[in-house]
Symmetry: C2
Subunit: 407 residues, 2 copies
């Protein structure tokens, strides 16, 4: 059994790091708040007596190995500790701290695994400041050159590589330096299913595809009082049409497609000036790649129509595109088996959110474990999972890690 008090205590402690002036948790990748969170994690890795490594994209590793198993590929546990704006305390941190907790528990119990076990905190999983999301694990898996990732310009004009240097987490290891034997990520569900069905453990067998785009509309600024409705080239109005188009299409379909416009900015953003420019983001997701492509095509066709009808110019930039991923059957079964042995119900499910496991699945057999999110709420300070569920999930991670490292 993991040490519940230690795990929950660290989770709460980390959850207080990176509060802004309004008390909101904002620990964006590469920020001072991120540095403070990283420093706490590193101090706990050190306290656990593990080796510490940081790679060039800032991924942090705590590695438990001994002379007997040092040549074997490690079992990797992990997630991320960066957050969205006004975040909850569980998203990512729960998986990272539970990974560390599993290692400490096994170590203290005198367990002698056949393979090293390591825990990772991947850089910039959220993608809020720098796109794409899951960047640290994507680079680690070889899906994006480290140089290109480090050159990413953020929503605030900063460059990720410079920010990592500034906060002291531009490491020396080459991303991918540890080739995992297997990867397991424990995470809160962030959706409503487990709570609604009263099931404490999700055995995550796949993860939906993610398409992120930025749409920029150029119209013409003019006077709000003197410009007849028929003579306007209103970029803000065209932006609003895109929001309602996406919403209506996703709502009226039977498919599980979700569509979100999270960012919206008008220029000049003045009360009596027709917007000359509007920029918005589109987040489209679907577990089925064909359907995701069809939704992207439908949006593209609508944008062409809209540009013609409203006499505006519309340009689209791709921010992220990940196909749906199927996880490793054997690890999914290990999760179900561990739940059964602990007398916990489990359910095979799809992840609605993107996760580092999605990237690491490119280089190692991977899977995820979910625990319930009360009300399905996440990316919100009211994100919550009861302590008993948190502890149960961490114990399943412990069991699966021990099984994977046994041979």
């Amino acid at each position: 059994f993991i040490n519940a008090e230690r795990l929950l205590g660290r989770l709460r402690e980390l959850g207080q790091i990176g509060r802004d002036g309004d008390g909101r948790l904002v620990r964006l990748a590469g920020s001072d708040a991120d540095k403070a969170g990283r420093d706490a994690f590193v101090s706990w890795i050190r306290a656990a007596g593990l080796d510490i490594a940081v790679d060039r994209i800032g991924n942090i590793f705590g590695i438990w190995k001994d002379r007997a198993n040092v040549d074997e590929a490690p079992v990797l546990l992990g997630s991320h500790i960066d957050s969205v704006i006004n975040a909850g305390i569980y998203d990512g941190c729960y998986g990272v701290l539970s990974g560390l907790e599993a290692i400490e528990t096994l170590k203290a119990a005198g367990y002698a695994p056949a393979r090293p076990i390591a825990v990772a905190a991947f850089t910039n999983e959220e993608g809020v400041r720098y796109a794409p999301d899951m960047m640290g694990s994507l680079v680690y898996a070889g899906g994006l050159p480290v140089k290109e990732a480090l050159a990413t310009v953020g929503t605030d004009g900063t460059v990720l590589g410079a920010e990592l240097e500034r906060i002291g987490y531009a490491g020396f290891e080459e991303p991918g330096f540890l080739k995992p034997h297997a990867y397991v990520e424990l995470h809160i569900e962030q959706g409503p299913i487990l709570e609604r069905e009263g099931v404490p453990i999700g055995a995550v067998e796949n993860l939906q595809g993610i398409s992120w785009q930025r749409v920029t509309i150029d119209g013409d600024a003019n006077h709000a009082g003197t410009t007849p409705m028929s003579m306007r080239r209103d970029a803000g109005h065209a932006a609003a049409r895109i929001v309602t188009f996406l919403r209506d299409r996703a709502r009226n379909s039977n498919a599980p497609t979700v569509a979100t416009v999270g960012c919206m900015n008008f220029e000049p953003n003045a009360i009596n000036v027709i917007p000359s420019r509007a920029a918005l983001t589109v987040d489209l997701r679907d577990p089925d790649e064909q359907r995701l492509q069809a939704e992207e095509a439908a949006l593209a066709a609508y944008l062409r129509e809209l540009a013609a009808a409203e006499e505006v110019t519309i340009s689209v930039e791709r921010l992220a595109r990940f196909e749906p991923v199927a996880f490793d059957r054997r690890i999914v079964e290990l999760v179900e088996d561990a739940a059964r042995k602990r007398g916990l119900a489990s359910k095979r499910m799809t992840s609605g959110a993107g996760h580092d496991a999605q990237m690491i699945a490119r280089i190692a057999p991977s899977a995820m474990i979910f625990v319930p999110s009360i009300g399905g709420i996440s990316h919100n300070p009211r994100e919550h999972t009861p302590d008993a569920d948190l502890v149960a999930g961490a114990n399943i991670l412990l069991d699966v890690a021990a099984r994977l490292a046994a041979q």
Copy 2:
């Protein structure tokens, strides 16, 4: 005849004051750029040998009086020199500098008016940083207590009174200290009518009503990937519905109502977070007060429906509300007469934009003179009026001022 070179030269000089790093003209009320513009205007008043006065709300006056007419109520000319974001160079400045030009011309010609003639630059006409718009003239006309106006908090969190003190334009005169005999404001049309009809002079007989509101929508932040479409309380989506509702209603009506959403802000404004809050501005205008009220009521009813349907909370704050104004018939006829005598076609028309004349009409007979705006473009750096039209308009102002001051 006014001195065309002097007028056009000053207009261009003032148009270069307040350029931001991107070369955009941004001379918002109370800013450093506004101070620089005011300083230039004051130096020109001084050069013309006029008395200078500044009132508590920062309105600047250049007054031409002599021992013979000092006890008479003055003819007041004027407009404003604050600007929107990324403005053109004519809006407001043209009327202020032409007023000064008319006085200088009459003075140099040895004209001895029966009344003083004064020129005013009213504070914060645009209302972009501090609402309501036309604030300086509104206070001057007694429509808003000066203390309340000075306490206005801007879009950037600053307080107007503190900004006026900071830039040295919190004057000592009580607003209203000069009670005008008549007020005449020369302005670019900012709309397409005069150019389209090939008429150089607009005799503005009325001005439409203006309703400004800020609408704030509170929904619930949640994860863009895991939250089913049916479980969302998406503040951004509700905001977009308001934009399309207003647009469709105004477009599909035969009335001249115009509706504009110029400002839009999402929170937390992150790509993978459903917006918890959206705030937008609504600018509604109509020459008919009944119809303007009906439009406001229709919006209010729609917001109630929308709040229920989308399970969001919607609150509305009034930022400005001005009824339509009818200008003084006699001055309108003087404008037409002056145009006729100079061989220029004129047209009676309605002003789509708000103007200081709308406020001063509360305390003195008032009217306006318009000149064409190429393409009807304003609140845009491409705002333009040909030099010949600018000069013609200033000469009409000269003639009307002379006539009004003659007795």
